[in-house]
Amino acid sequence: MSSPFEQILDPARRADPYPLFDRLRDTPVARQPDGTYVVSTYREIVSLLHDPRVSSDRRNLGSDAGEAPRDPSFIGLDPPEHDRLRRLAMRHFGPPHAARTVEELRPEMLAIATRLIDGLAGRSRADIVDEVAYPLPVAVICRLLGVPEEDEPRFHAWADQAIETLGPGEQDRAERERARREVLTELENYLAGLAEDRRRAPGTDMLSGFVTYHGPEGGMTHREVVATAVLLLIAGHETTINLIANGLLTFLRHPGLLDRVRAEPGLIVPAVEELLRYEPPVQLISSRIALADIEVGGTTIPAGSPVVLAVAAGSRDPAHTPDPGLFLLDRPRNEHLGFGGGAHYCFGAPLARLETQIVLGELVRRLRAPRLVADPPPYRPSAVLRGPRHLVIDYAGVDPA
């Protein structure tokens, strides 16, 4: 019998991994046969997210020494390189220099959501993943970064493959890394070309900001621009798709919920937070490495070990959250791990939140009598980024915007 964690990795268990996550928590720090340590309880995860002895740079993993080092984006770097690159990227996205960037996208997000939902009118069946959950974040991240919308189908394929080759554990790691490298190279070449264009003719998008900004602590090198853009492009939509799809799925499974949010639209705000806790798109944070022996939850993780943080299990830890298996709109002080924590807290969290609040709010308001066609829906295989591949619904009609 394989361990709960190995079963979680099995794509056949994707539709409902939560009983497995519950079992995983019985051993807060569980050593896997391949030497990976999986941590699954809230307190222990939070402590490791803030532990400077935990590295995000895979080059610290002894056994990877033979691997050709690619340029990691800031997600795969430790401070101080991480902090410098993340700050350089944040300059064009959020506080302190561009605090309003995301908030100012609100009308545009609403316009895109409206257009996509208008497209569902006149029919009675739709795939919410293909028709809403995917195109919205893609349009937004393209707008922000400065990727022409007509190029979108090309990187859709690349991004999908990049996600599918992502995974925790060390089994098949080399092979997956090779496949991943191939895809990323294509995406990199595309973005490198785009960055060149922006260098010659800068616009107001983030990519232009990346290539033109030079401050007291320097700017981004060409390779850093490309690595950052790849990261934002992939992370900027692959997670949000799942959050939106998981969200509608959850609403349709709990009809009382749908009615409450329809009656009181402000509830979409706590609803999205509860979603991030209850059905988080990012289920596992992998690729961390212990730099020293770390005692946590009564176990010592030896220096050099790969560490996986099972955030989906942590957010449902009854020692931290009462009744964690219930979806509660009025959950007080909802502290969850939906966006991770510590220095690597999700860069795009504000964007994901706002997009999801807007599009889910509009779906709830406008769709008449929506219901699931298949429950569970088919899932994408990744255990790291979990979400339905398709979410087909039937509905009685679409109310005007």
Binding site: S47, P52, P95, P96, P332, N334, P350
Partner: protein
């Protein structure tokens, strides 16, 4: 809608700034915010509060934790003297704990309790009006408020508080939370000159704000502790010339020691502060009309200034306790780790409790030395412990064992500390770099970690707090990220202390106040 951010919890994620940029602002990690935003911001503020990863934004003070069980006392009369941060928080916790009797709050300030930290920050810059720092409305405590009248005496045996207007308020249990006041300039005639300020109350802040907004030619600040440094920072932000005079060798020396003090000095000078250390003000000088003209310094030099702020620390509001038989003096009101006051003989009382700036309590982590902490987080946490213990029986009382946490924002930098930085003989920068003014510094005392200070690195503080609570060895000897070459332990340069010689250490375990316990760790062994 009233907003208060628990900045002891805030880690600088900035999610609130994204979602409500008109209410929250930050430079690097130093968060400032409007405590009383316009009604059209309500929606944004709710989004921001929901999104805070550490849930540090309080829109009301509804329970953080569920009640800890059926209280031993549901009935009776509890009186709280000092109706500010600690007092108001205690009243709220009493109700949360299930206390159903009468609560009376006695305060000498008129009006509702307000938050003080913004007074030396947002209020002086003009970002927030002086009257707009009221604390979030308490959950309906049904408390009786006696405002605008000071308590004049405490009769422990007769169980009553005597008010200055002659009234008597009887109690079954009483909480003393009268805090501190600004230490005035010792020469009354000079202190009375027009243009000389102190900063403790909302009225002080309004006066000083008006004086700064009028565009003085130069501001003189006496004392480079946290308050003085924050005011200097505001002056530079307002583009006012400012001179800071500090007796010690560096700013923040008495709180953080000389090593970090030097970093703070660099920060001030880089922002154009005329910082003069190792000097004191000998006299404040006025013109014939009684207006401040300048100051004479101990090194013989002079400073011309039309506004001066005396920021020389605080005086505890204990005079009203004279004759009460309690161990109350300039050091504060002595109590045990459960906030029960100690009398002059050193006996613990049953019905008199203490919390906040005024309390002087023994901390097991620091060799049971008595200390008082003038921190926001200390006032809130201690009030919670005191309130719980006031309604609990002996077997269910909680000790106050939290490693203290303090924050300050100045010159755009978020400074935070955990533990007691002056309880140290060595210090070491473990992460980041002092030159970049983004770092973690760890303090050690006789080979164990006792404190940590971060400059724009608040994210890591929790980790070091656990090292402190676990009496981890100093210097830390593990491999970790962002360690810069050449950073080793150096002398902490903190004020001298008298130390016992024995070698037993205490370890604190547990997360919630209900679980926290101290145990002894003898050298070479375990508890």
């Amino acid at each position: 809608m009233r907003v208060v951010v628990d900045l002891t919890r805030c880690q600088g994620y900035g999610q609130c700034v994204f979602l409500a940029p008109d209410v929250f602002t930050m430079r690097e990690e130093a968060l400032l915010y409007d405590l009383d935003p316009a009604a059209d911001q309500d929606d944004h503020v709710r989004r921001a509060a929901a999104a805070c990863p550490v849930q540090a934004i309080h829109l009301d003070w509804a329970a953080r934790r569920p009640p800890s069980g059926r209280p031993a006392r549901r009935e009776g009369r509890i009186v709280v003297v000092g109706a500010s941060l600690a007092g108001a928080r205690a009243a709220e916790v009493l109700r949360r704990e299930g206390f159903e009797g009468t609560i009376t709050l006695i305060g000498d300030e008129a009006g509702e309790p307000y938050d003080r930290p913004p007074l030396s920050k947002q209020v002086l810059t003009g970002q927030v009006a002086a009257g707009h720092t009221l604390l979030p409305r308490l959950r309906d405590t049904g408390a009786e408020w006696l405002c605008g009248v000071p308590a004049a005496a405490l009769d422990v045996a007769g169980k009553r508080v005597l008010l200055a207007d002659g009234r008597e308020v009887p109690f079954d249990r009483v909480l003393l939370a009268t805090g501190t006041r600004a230490r005035p300039w010792p020469e009354p005639a000079e202190a009375a000159l027009e243009g000389v300020h102190t900063l403790r109350t909302v009225a002080d802040a309004a006066r000083l704000r008006a004086a700064l907004a009028a565009g003085p030619r130069r501001v003189l600040i006496l004392g480079a502790g946290f308050t003085g440094s924050e005011i200097a920072s505001v002056c530079r932000e307002l583009d006012l010339p400012v001179t800071v005079v500090e007796r010690a060798a560096t700013p923040l020396m008495s709180a953080l020691g000389g090593v970090i003090g030097e970093v703070a000095a660099g920060l001030q000078r880089a922002h154009g502060v005329d910082l003069r250390c190792g000097v004191t003000v000998a006299a404040l000088e006025g013109d014939p009309a009684g207006r401040l003209r300048g100051a004479r310094l101990s090194d013989g030099s002079t400073v011309e200034a039309d506004v001066a702020v005396v920021a020389l620390g605080s005086v505890r509001n204990v005079e009203w306790l004279q004759g009460s038989g309690l161990a109350a003096g300039p050091w504060g009101v002595t109590c045990d780790a459960g906030c029960r006051a100690v009398d002059l003989n050193g006996l613990v009382t049953d019905d008199v409790f203490v919390a906040g700036d005024i309390a002087r309590f023994p901390h097991p982590l620091y060799e049971y030395q008595f200390m008082s902490l003038e921190h926001w987080g200390n006032a809130v946490d201690q009030a919670e412990i005191a309130a719980h213990n006031m309604v609990s029986d002996q077997a269910h009382r909680w000790p106050y064992l939290a490693a203290p946490v303090f924050w300050s924002s100045q010159f755009g930098v978020n400074i935070k500390s955990a533990g007691v930085p002056t309880f140290a003989d060595e210090i070491m920068i473990t992460q980041g770099s002092a030159a970049e003014r983004r770092f973690v510094a760890v303090y050690g005392y006789r080979g164990r970690v006792t404190a940590a200070v971060t400059f724009d690195q608040a994210m890591w503080l929790e980790f070091y707090q656990r090292l402190i609570e676990g009496a981890a060895p100093f210097p830390p000897d593990f491999r970790h990220v962002d360690r810069r070459a050449g950073d080793g332990p150096v002398s902490a340069r903190v004020p001298e202390r008298v130390v016992p010689t024995a070698g037993a250490t205490v370890v604190v375990t547990g997360h919630d106040p209900a679980e926290r316990r101290a145990s002894l760790l003898h050298s070479g062994g375990t508890a």
